[in-house]
């Protein structure tokens, strides 16, 4: 069950502070990286919600994020709507698509659920790849960032945008934490712990799973809107399942079912990717080996390990439900 422990709070605030300090002391490229980390952290949080706490391991969160990006792009570029409406579309698209996936896949578990999400994510990828309306494999350029000059923010400025995304990531964390402490979130954890009993107690399990997945998708869609504005361009590559795979890797590296781990993992993976790429063209090889090693060593992820060192009995108790989506 989720507990917003002082350790978690401290860690999140520390990460946020580090991000802000970094933002003010680094150059353009560093800001680009930070923005990328913040945006992916939001998706990773969304993923940890359903995978870490709900036991629904998803390989389609990249697609949900991409769908949000395309929704924002379509709304603002194709339909000429304002940025605010674009964000609303992104959230609705990500949420709606995710709800459908959750509803359809509610009766499947374990590897079947993972494969179902994989296939649906690829469906979206294939759709955008082949669709002339959305630019096909070339994607859609010309996306503009939100105009927040009314509140004195120039988002075209990299520093402002990086900070904007960082704040949103922090808010995403707060939202996820609130959700996990609510009746809704606790019931989700209950479903993970014992789905048939939950059903026997009167819960419409499929509806709950669909709603949880939908909420997660809405958050991912929001991140997609941010991503679209970041690069000011969207392409089908955003929806490719390898993106979903990388998101899962982030959550695992950081610590599945810890929520903070999702943020940490996003940061670690993006920075490692960047550092490794400076030396070699073959960062996939490195990440692949690191991932295999992490799983083989039975690790709890970085933050999971930190939590364990901090409070071994508490962490073990939580890990019993949160770290084990192995129901067949």
């Amino acid at each position: 069950m989720f507990h917003q422990t002082p350790l978690k709070t401290g860690a999140v605030l520390l990460l946020a502070a580090a991000a802000v300090v970094y933002a003010f002391t680094t150059g353009f490229f560093g800001l680009e990286l930070l923005t990328e980390v913040a945006i992916l952290a939001i998706v990773a949080i969304a993923l940890d919600l359903v995978a870490g706490y709900g036991g629904m391991v998803s390989l389609c969160h990249g697609a949900l994020y991409g769908v949000g990006a395309y929704a924002f792009a379509s709304a603002t570029v194709l339909l000429g709507w304002g940025g605010g409406a674009g964000v609303a579309m992104a959230v609705a698209a990500g949420g709606g698509f995710a709800w459908m996936i959750g509803a359809v896949s509610a009766r499947t578990h374990g590897i079947f659920f993972i494969m179902a999400t994989l296939a649906f994510g690829q469906m979206a990828y294939a759709y955008f790849f082949d669709s002339p309306l959305f630019g096909g494999s070339d994607g859609m350029p010309g996306i503009a960032r939100l105009d927040l000059s009314g509140v004195g923010l120039d988002l075209k400025n990299s520093l402002s945008y990086a900070l904007f995304c960082t704040v949103l990531a922090l808010l995403a964390y707060a939202l996820a934490a609130t959700l996990l402490r609510s009746g809704f979130g606790r019931t989700l954890v209950g479903i993970h712990a014992n789905e048939p009993r939950m059903r026997a107690l009167g819960l419409s399990v499929w509806r709950h799973k669909a709603a949880a997945f939908g909420t997660s998708g809405a958050l991912a869609g929001l991140a997609g809107a941010l991503a679209a504005q970041h690069t000011m361009y969207v392409s089908p590559g955003l929806l490719h399942w390898t993106v979903s795979g990388e998101l899962l890797i982030m959550v695992i590296l950081g610590g599945l079912g810890t929520l903070v781990g999702a943020v940490l993992g996003a940061g670690v993976l993006v920075f490692v990717k960047h550092e490794v790429s400076r030396f070699t063209d073959h960062w996939h090889l490195v990440v692949g080996l690191v991932l295999i090693a992490t799983v083989l060593s039975g690790g709890r992820g970085i933050f999971g390990q930190i939590e364990f060192w901090w409070s071994p009995r508490g962490a073990t108790r939580r890990a019993a439900t949160e770290g084990s989506p192995d129901h067949a």
Partner: protein
């Protein structure tokens, strides 16, 4: 777009060819999954490895048949290494960890391919024996593709016999049905798993080498065919030969005819089919275990 008989015959043959390729891949994956409870996402990478090794082998020996012979063996050898180093340990690790480890393997293979064979798409020549076209039923169709169809059917027949008439086959079926019980009966299930795994890898490698002359050999060909293969396995039903062939035919035909009749919808059609199966029969059409 013509609506006469020759069009339909050609498209049916195209669909059969795609189905056979999918079958070679999915049968290994589904039995490995049904028997070992291990989902190997890197199965597509093994297929790609077969294609790459095949390209090199045929270039080295100047003959397609070198690829046909070497690729399955080479991939089976790699399979042995993977089994001993990784798969055996991960068998009871739960689906998420299996997904992660094999995902890591995909990444590793991706870069190994680039290191070994570069980034440009490669090709391979058809064997002289099956080059050119054959005329029949009022159409002219590439002979090599007929060979692929024939090969697929031959493998189907061979596997059917293997499963139903040999002791190994009986053990495999027993293991898929109830692995713990089979082990309790004193059957060396571990050894059977190992054999089955290597056979599955060999088939994937064969599929790669066989596909090389008709498709482009690229570093992402493995990931491209993985999803359709997984869809076949899920729709067809786990662990059964019947499921593999049924699923392969279904997907092969939907994808081929979809692409020519309704290209916009084709890409989505396969996944719509998946959705329907998941809602109505989550265990798939012909699961091995009731």
């Amino acid at each position: 777009m013509t609506a006469d008989a020759s069009f339909w015959i050609v498209q049916t043959l195209n669909a059969l060819q795609l189905s056979m390729l999918l079958f070679l891949l999915s049968v290994g994956l589904t039995v490995i999954f049904g028997l070992l409870h291990f989902v190997n996402l890197a199965h597509g990478s093994l297929y790609a490895l077969g294609a790459f090794v095949g390209v090199s082998a045929s270039a080295f020996a100047g003959s397609y048949w070198a690829a046909f012979a070497v690729a399955p063996v080479a991939v089976a050898l790699v399979g042995i290494v993977l089994y001993v180093a990784l798969i055996r340990r991960m068998r009871n690790a739960g689906p998420m960890n299996q997904v992660l480890v094999t995902f890591g393997l995909i990444f590793v293979f991706l870069d190994l391919f680039r290191l070994g064979w570069g980034d440009i798409p490669l090709g391979m020549a058809e064997p002289d024996l099956f080059s050119g076209r054959t005329a029949f039923l009022g159409i002219v169709y590439p002979t090599y593709r007929l060979f692929i169809i024939g090969l697929g059917l031959a493998v189907l027949a061979a596997l059917s016999l293997l499963l139903s008439r040999t002791q190994l086959g009986a053990i495999v079926r027993a293991g898929v049905d109830n692995g713990d019980m089979a082990a309790c009966l004193g059957i060396n299930v571990e050894r059977v798993f190992f054999i089955v795994f290597c056979l599955g890898c060999a088939l994937a490698g064969l599929a790669g080498a066989v596909a090389a002359p008709v498709l482009s050999v690229t570093t992402d060909m493995g990931t491209a065919i993985l999803i359709p293969t997984l869809v076949v396995v899920v729709i067809g039903g786990l662990g059964s030969l019947r499921g593999a062939i049924a699923g392969s035919l279904l997907i092969g035909f939907v994808q081929t005819f979809g692409a020519v009749l309704a290209p916009q919808a084709a890409a989505v059609a396969v996944y719509a089919l998946l959705a329907v199966v998941l809602i109505l029969r989550p265990a798939g059409l012909f699961p091995a275990r009731g």
